[in-house]
Symmetry: C2
Subunit: 204 residues, 2 copies
Amino acid sequence: MARWEPGARERLQKAALDLFLERGYENVTATDIAEHAGLARRTFFRYFADKREVLFAGSEQLPAAAIEAVHATPTPRSALDTVLHALDLIGTQLAAHGQHAYKRRTVIASSSELQERERTKLAALTTALAQALSERQVPNATAELLAQVGVATFQAAWGQWVNQAGNASFHDCLEHATADLKSAFAASIRPPQPRRTRRTRRAT
Amino acid sequence: MARWEPGARERLQKAALDLFLERGYENVTATDIAEHAGLARRTFFRYFADKREVLFAGSEQLPAAAIEAVHATPTPRSALDTVLHALDLIGTQLAAHGQHAYKRRTVIASSSELQERERTKLAALTTALAQALSERQVPNATAELLAQVGVATFQAAWGQWVNQAGNASFHDCLEHATADLKSAFAASIRPPQPRRTRRTRRAT
């Protein structure tokens, strides 16, 4: 009986998103999802702990992936560029499996419980990035701040990527969001003084 | 009987924090808090919906205060400086009533439920700031990104303020965190090209 179902995970994910959008997240059960995918209920539980986890499958691997991505970033780079480079790697991997990202975003926006879960996921990613930066001798407070700014930029880029899915690479979306942010900082910094060293901190 | 208790709110807040730290957040009830403060249980519920809300009292006013603070910021300012100015106002107000901030932070760090609640509070603040920026003609995506970056900077500044409570103004902590971030951006931006207009966006 319990034979291997080709593409079961993907079928369950697609069925879940379709049902969540059609009936509302609260009104869908794991059994509904399995049925809609033409699979047994127990097949559902072979892949996912509950219906919420269909939307967050794999996210427990994000922190470790982020740390690895920071370590994989060549060293002669500023701390900010290191975070952004790591998030570029992560986002590009996620985008490769992100064909349902638009539906997923809509479902998450519909439920405060799911939004909380999403924030928890991003907080774990932020903590991991901060830790990896600290290991590269970035002071703790700066590492936390840059990790948060990096994840904010990542979210902006992901939002753009989802909006344009198929027509832009995640990398380009991240470049765009980064340029947006750098432009905001350039507009905030007073007109440049005669050339200074690059790392000079100003009291503004 | 139900007479007015002078300083009841403050006594309950102090009692709650002391008990949460002493016994653990999960092990304290509203009744314990009231008793510890020398007040009746029903007095507790006149001020707070439950024990969790002792830690978040007033936070429902943050979004409106943030919108007001953005509107109170003089206009010839960059979008980033507007957010930071608004958060300076907010943080300075919070700091004026923040005598228990260190204990509060320790309690929140002890419970994932409380951390979630804290993130929800900050997300509402971020949304409000983004909305207020949009009303100032900042494009939506940029407004959201800058609101997040602003709140990240706020959190860094608040963390510093709590660490040094009594020895630094919130304003100085925010300036310090902002300088830290600007320095990270300066280190990331390539060596300056021959003078450009300040708002030029570069594709990096």
